[in-house]
Amino acid sequence: MEERAEERAMAFQGSASTILFVALVLFELLTPSILLDLGTTRSTEAERLGHTGPHDSPEMLCDLPPGNDVRRYELVAQAAEWQIAEGHMISTWTFNGSVPGPTICARVGDTLEVTLTNRLSTIASFHAHGLAFDSDSDGTFLSDSFVAPGGSRTYFFEALPDSVGTWAYHDSVAELDEEPFVKGLMIPESGEGIERGMYGAIIVVDGTEEPVDHEVLLFLGDVGPEVTRKGTFQVINGRAAPLTPEITLVEAERVRFRIINAGPNAAHDFYISGHVLENAHNAEVVNGTTSIEELWSVSLGSLTFGDWLMTAGPAGDYDYSCSVSGHAESGMQGRLTVIEGE
């Protein structure tokens, strides 16, 4: 009787149990990547900016038709798998699935309606720089103008004459720790959303901009070890070198660099080897001649932004980088190639 009972436990005895054990372990280890939609390691090519092919007209970031309008933007706060560096994927929070999020364009006099839908498990918000808004559109915790998980909210803005230029938008409440839900406590602004990738550009034009051949939009940012799980990365457009943008220009082309330090923590000092950046907003007329401030490098504190003009030098290989100690080594550098004109 006892022996028969022992026999009936066959699958859990002898070689059968060993074979089953190995089979189940192998199944557990090998099949999830096939059967479940896991974040696989994709190889990403560096983004190409500047002169990427023949063009008849200037390549502008914001090609708005003339006249004023109500411009509507739909943003979705969503999680994404993002390749921050070669061979290293991280979990990011994004606007519309990429870092940085889509560029928001406006002409002076425009009204903007930005609808944010939150598909994250944390609260999220849309906070804009450079535009005019009421306190219920400021996207901070203190004004309750954030969006709970699963919800959505529309923010309203106006582009005023002094809005012209390059600005950033970003989340300012998202946190893994959901303490901010408790009312009555002093809540600091959160930089976690920015660190995880929730930022983008706002570009406001008034039609008086100097025409250029290309506009290049660069976001500088720092991503800490709690997000990367592998030290701090200094990133450009969400990625560390060698995945930073490859910029190609034709000799003597005029370029407008729109540069945003999304932060959330570090300050940067951006330069392009062999080139000077012109601060067109700081032109002075001295003794009848226009003098334009020319800079070898531009300093950007956390959440500061600006645009600078540049003329591509002689054909050759150049690089751009941040001169703050350690930043280039942590990823904040890239290549700029100037090619001969056709």
């Binding site: 436990a9 999830p32 479940l36 974040g39 994927m89 598909r119 408790v182």
Partner: protein, 281 residues
């Protein structure tokens, strides 16, 4: 809905069912160990259960505390809150709703604990108590209730998309729940005879299967109140089994040295704790 069911089944298999069976499979080898190691294994089981008790208690209490906060989201932002939570809020009103979380916790805990008293009586009628099988069924049931809560957490995380479900996370869960499989067969190791394959498979299904149910609910119809209830019921059930196994261990274990006994308990808690660090969602 069907693709959600399929996803829930896959998640439940990887996170709950398969790891539990992997942990159970070497049961025959465990039976060949000497007495000291067998005693160690049984006290390891107690350690696993104690960890689950702490874990579930913390989850339930955290959920009950957070229930108020979840209510305030509806108050201040244009967010949506789960239908069941909203209904509780509507019925109880602003002043009473914050208490709902704690009430659910207390009811769930009592239900889990007293429910197991009833179930234990039924199990003892049906199984041979000399083989340790009845204790194994109790442990499987308590672990199953725990895994329902764990499935819920996994389902919510996957549906929110906040954490990428990496292979490393699945391996973490597998290591974590493998110990639960060992805990299920713990009482069988020193029993007179091993139960039939059918019954062993049943034990694994009871311990691991509820992960699928939890994952499905988490993916499709999550509510904070439901999560508190699940965790509280499981905490009550695990509490009952802890008390039962501990008394049994002390009664039968006169020959077991205290070093072995407490070493096993400590090992169980530590293994569960360390593996839980890999799967912090």
């Amino acid at each position: 809905m069907l693709d959600m069911l399929w996803l829930a089944i896959l998640l439940g298999l990887y996170v709950g069912v398969i790891p539990v069976y992997i942990g159970m499979l070497p049961v025959e080898r465990f039976r060949r160990l000497d007495d000291r190691w067998m005693a160690f294994l049984l006290s390891f089981t107690v350690g696993v259960l104690l960890f689950l008790l702490i874990d579930l208690g913390a989850e339930a209490m955290e959920g009950a505390d957070g229930f108020i906060a979840a209510m305030q989201v509806a108050d201040t932002a244009t967010g949506s809150i789960p239908a069941l939570d909203q209904a509780i809020f509507d019925v109880l009103g602003m002043s009473m709703a914050p208490m709902a979380g704690y009430a659910i916790l207390v009811v769930g805990l009592a239900f889990g604990l007293l429910g197991l008293v009833y179930v234990d009586g039924r199990i003892r009628q049906r199984t041979d108590t000399s083989s340790g099988e009845s204790t194994a069924w109790l442990i499987a049931l308590a672990i199953g209730l725990h895994n329902m809560g764990e499935g819920l957490a996994v389902g919510i995380t996957v549906s929110a998309g906040a954490t990428a479900l990496a292979t490393s996370l699945i391996i973490g869960f597998a290591l974590h729940n493998l110990s639960e499989g060992i805990a299920v067969v713990g009482p069988l190791v020193s029993g007179a005879k091993l139960p039939s394959t059918k019954r062993l498979l049943g034990l694994g299904a009871v311990a691991g299967g509820p992960t699928i149910i939890g994952a499905f609910i988490g993916l499709t119809w999550f509510a904070n109140s439901l999560a508190i209830l699940f965790f509280a019921i499981a905490a009550g059930a695990v509490l009952y089994v802890c008390v039962e196994v501990l008394t049994g261990l002390r009664k039968d274990g006169a020959s077991i040295g205290s070093w072995t006994l407490h070493g096993g308990v400590l090992a169980g808690i530590l293994v569960m704790y360390v593996t839980s660090l890999f799967v912090a969602l």
